[in-house]
């Protein structure tokens, strides 16, 4: 699980280093505008979200999450090599798009591997530790990229080379160091501890009384988990809360709109959020294991309410800006990894990766719709009224969502001990 964290750290260093310099590279070095870039970016976020379900499904079907994840990481590493050769706008946006698809493919199988290799009782903490390492990479990447551009003013090639190196190391760590866990097979073996149970002859070398096939298949993959009440309620709540998560960009813009501190540090506001996320991810996971994962996911949105309040305050300053960033980071710590842990523990093991992928897709699509809608609202009624409106609706939605999910933690505990 720590190894998987390091794989993610290296890959995030790789992708965030490129993401941080891409607007500069496209406008300053290629001499193009960012109009089309934003358009393609939005389109691909959607494609990435849908590919996640497919990645989870392939991982569950084949029972080899590692190899599905390797395809995703490999695809992203290939785009890094491509960036070294690409020169035009179309080539660059295509590569960014392929990178996003790679990210979509690998996320669910990776989370299934985390789930398979951790103790069910501390599942959320394992996800928290992974997300902390992942976020550390996301914070390191841009800093590394800007240090390179500081030392080598036109050093985009060097940034891409470092990014390629990091992604190759990430892929290498995955292929060489991460065991090829087979969640379905492992669960089957755990449930059938005796030789008879496994359909094997009573003793080694015996052939006469073989009971069945040697290869355990476990329960076959089935989409029927979507008909389960607890899963449905989780997806419903995740959608509802996702619709009220308007995107960090708007929070940063709101902060930037009203005070000089946030304007000066605008390009770095996300670093503050990431730092808080990184530090709080593991403790939040531990808290979720103890208090209940559904409880922490739902009530974690109160932190988001707090961040919106800070951003909507009429007067600015350093304190509310920093508080908003910390609350935003804490919100991600309390919800992102914990949601994967919750989704993974609600469903039977053979469909775990698909369930995690589905939950993440639902959240990602809902958030995209939220951002688009909020963008219109922002300009229609103004910054503060729009934020206040979302804050109020979210504050009302959190207790309602908790009511809907109130029994989910009991369900997961049962499933957790059974698995």
């Amino acid at each position: 699980m720590v190894t998987l964290g390091i794989v993610s750290l290296l890959t995030d260093v790789s992708s965030e280093a490129v993401a941080a310099v891409l607007p500069l590279y496209v406008t300053a070095s290629l001499g193009l505008t960012t109009v089309a870039y934003g358009f393609v970016d939005g389109l691909m976020q959607g494609a990435s979200a849908l590919v996640r379900v497919a990645g989870g499904w392939a991982s569950d079907r084949g029972d080899h999450p590692k190899w599905v994840a390797a395809v995703g990481y490999g695809l992203s590493a290939l785009t890094r090599a491509g960036l070294l050769l690409a020169s035009g706008f179309a080539a660059v946006t295509t590569l960014v798009a392929i990178d996003r698809i790679g990210k979509g493919i690998r996320t669910a199988p990776r989370d299934a591997m985390i789930a398979a290799s951790s103790d069910p009782r501390s599942l959320a903490r394992s996800f928290g530790t992974h997300r902390a390492l992942d976020t550390a990479g996301a914070a390191l990447g841009p800093l590394l990229a800007f240090v390179i551009l500081w030392l080598i003013p036109e050093g985009y090639t060097t940034v891409f080379m470092v990014s390629l190196g990091a992604s190759v190391l990430g892929l290498g760590a995955l292929v060489l160091l991460v065991p090829d866990v087979r969640p379905r097979r492992a669960a089957w073996l755990a449930q059938h501890k005796t030789r008879e149970g496994r359909g094997l002859p009573k003793c080694k070398g015996c052939t006469c009384d073989a009971l069945g096939g040697l290869e355990p298949t476990g329960r076959p993959f089935s989409w029927s988990f979507l008909r389960d009440g607890a899963t449905r309620r989780l997806l419903l709540v995740a959608t509802a809360l996702g619709f009220l998560t308007v995107g960090d960009g708007f929070v940063y813009l709101a902060l930037q709109d009203r005070d000089g501190f946030a304007t000066q540090w605008f390009p770095l506001l996300y670093v503050g959020t990431n730092a808080a996320y990184m530090l709080l991810a593991s403790p939040a996971g531990r808290l979720a294991d103890r208090l209940g994962r559904a409880r922490v996911v739902v009530w974690g949105h109160v932190l988001l309410v707090g961040a919106y309040v800070c951003a909507a305050l009429p007067s600015g300053g350093i304190a509310p800006t920093l508080l908003a960033l910390v609350l935003l980071g804490a919100f991600y710590a309390a919800t992102d990894g914990v949601l994967a842990a919750l989704a993974g523990s609600l469903v039977p093991l053979p469909v775990r990766a698909t369930a995690i992928g589905t939950a993440q897709t639902v959240v990602a699509v809902a958030r995209m719709v939220a951002s688009a809608t909020f963008g219109v609202l922002w300009f229609a009624v103004g910054r503060e009224p729009a934020l206040v409106l979302v804050t109020v609706v979210l504050a009302v939605a959190v207790p309602v969502c908790w009511f809907v999910l109130r029994r989910a933690d009991a369900t997961t505990t049962d499933a957790g001990t059974a698995a």
Partner: protein, 339 residues
């Protein structure tokens, strides 16, 4: 493979990748250091030699003078340039001084605007929220408009967004142009998403700029009034306007086929008649706020395709009678100063 072999293989990979990337980065760093320390291959003049009517611009000749604000006499555009000690990404100039937008590279990259006096001393400065885009003084140099992209991190990306602010040249009295009352086709249209960029001043209270609403899919030329605090749309499809010295025409970039793919061609709008002439003698995509060398000639920057970071300033007859030609090699962001 055994676990030990796998770990050994990873260590080998680690060493190879770190050494390879390290070697590449070190070579690039050494080359970059050498290039930047090398003298720029341009003829230079003493600052006192270029004091009359002149073109102020950003020099993009590779070497130690890269990015420096420079000037050439209008009578000798490709002659020796007087190079200042100041480096900028985007400049505008009057007889009283220069406005300079700049990326401050570092472990933390930030962006700033500075107004510099005739002796290159900082008279005012303020932070920008992202990559510098355009800047213009008002004719008497008392107001300055700046446009910056509001971009940060990809996760923070809300698509294309600009921030355009008009201030006094001393840095005070900032007005974000998105706060002005927008009047579309004669009716106040306050509830609309909008981006404003590319200001060109008529005088100390009136200006033209581009206003875009993506939700409506429209891009307007708008006339702004700082006293009445209004932005009134004039017509569609005019981006990055630039007023001619005689005040009768606007040069702008024209997108013939609006859509995700943009291809901008220089064009001129006659303000009295409303006639637009598209200057399609220029076939390349031109993404710049055009400048007027005189009432008959436009100037704009074009990046060289084969040399990253190097640009040329091209000239084009404003009446569509001729082909583009390089006016100032290795230059960007031209501004005409007539004492």
């Amino acid at each position: 493979m055994t676990v030990r072999r796998r770990v050994a293989a990873f260590v080998v990979l680690l060493v190879v990748v770190v050494a390879g990337v390290g070697w590449f980065a070190a070579a690039e760093l050494a080359q970059s250091r050498a290039e930047h320390a090398a003298p720029s291959d341009v003829a230079t003049a003493a600052p006192d030699d270029v004091t009359g009517p002149r073109l102020v611009f950003r020099s993009t000749a590779p070497g130690d003078l890269y990015g420096r604000v420079s000037a050439v006499p209008l009578a000798d555009l490709d002659g020796p340039r007087a190079v200042s000690p100041v480096a900028c990404d985007r400049v505008d100039a009057t007889t009283r001084g220069v406005v300079c937008l700049r990326t401050k590279r570092g472990v933390v990259t930030t962006f700033e605007a500075q107004v510099l006096d005739a002796d290159w001393q900082v008279a005012a400065e303020w932070p920008l929220p992202g990559t510098p885009s355009r800047t213009r003084f008002s004719p008497d140099g008392s107001l300055v408009a700046t446009t910056a992209f509001v971009t940060g991190h990809s996760y923070a990306s809300t698509g294309f967004s600009t921030e355009t602010v008009v201030r006094r040249a001393d840095g005070g009295g900032a007005v974000n142009l998105e706060e002005l009352t927008l009047v579309v086709d004669g009716a106040p249209a306050a509830p609309v998403d909008r981006n404003v960029w590319g200001v060109t001043f008529v005088d100390d209270s009136t200006f033209y700029a581009t206003v875009q609403s993506r939700s409506l899919g429209r891009t307007w030329l708008a006339r702004g009034d700082l006293t009445a605090r209004t932005l009134t749309t004039v017509r569609d499809g005019v981006e990055c306007p630039s007023l001619s010295p005689d005040g009768t025409r606007l040069a702008f970039k024209h997108d013939a086929d609006p859509g995700p793919e943009v291809h901008w061609t220089p064009a001129v709008l006659d303000l009295a008649t409303g006639t637009v002439s598209v200057l399609d003698a220029e076939t390349r995509n031109i993404d710049d706020q055009l400048a007027w060398l005189d009432d008959g000639t436009l100037l704009y920057g074009v990046p060289r395709t084969e040399e990253s970071g190097v640009t040329d300033v091209w000239s084009l007859p404003a009446d569509g009678t001729g082909a583009p030609a390089i006016a100032v090699p290795e230059a960007w962001s031209p501004a005409v100063v007539r004492p």
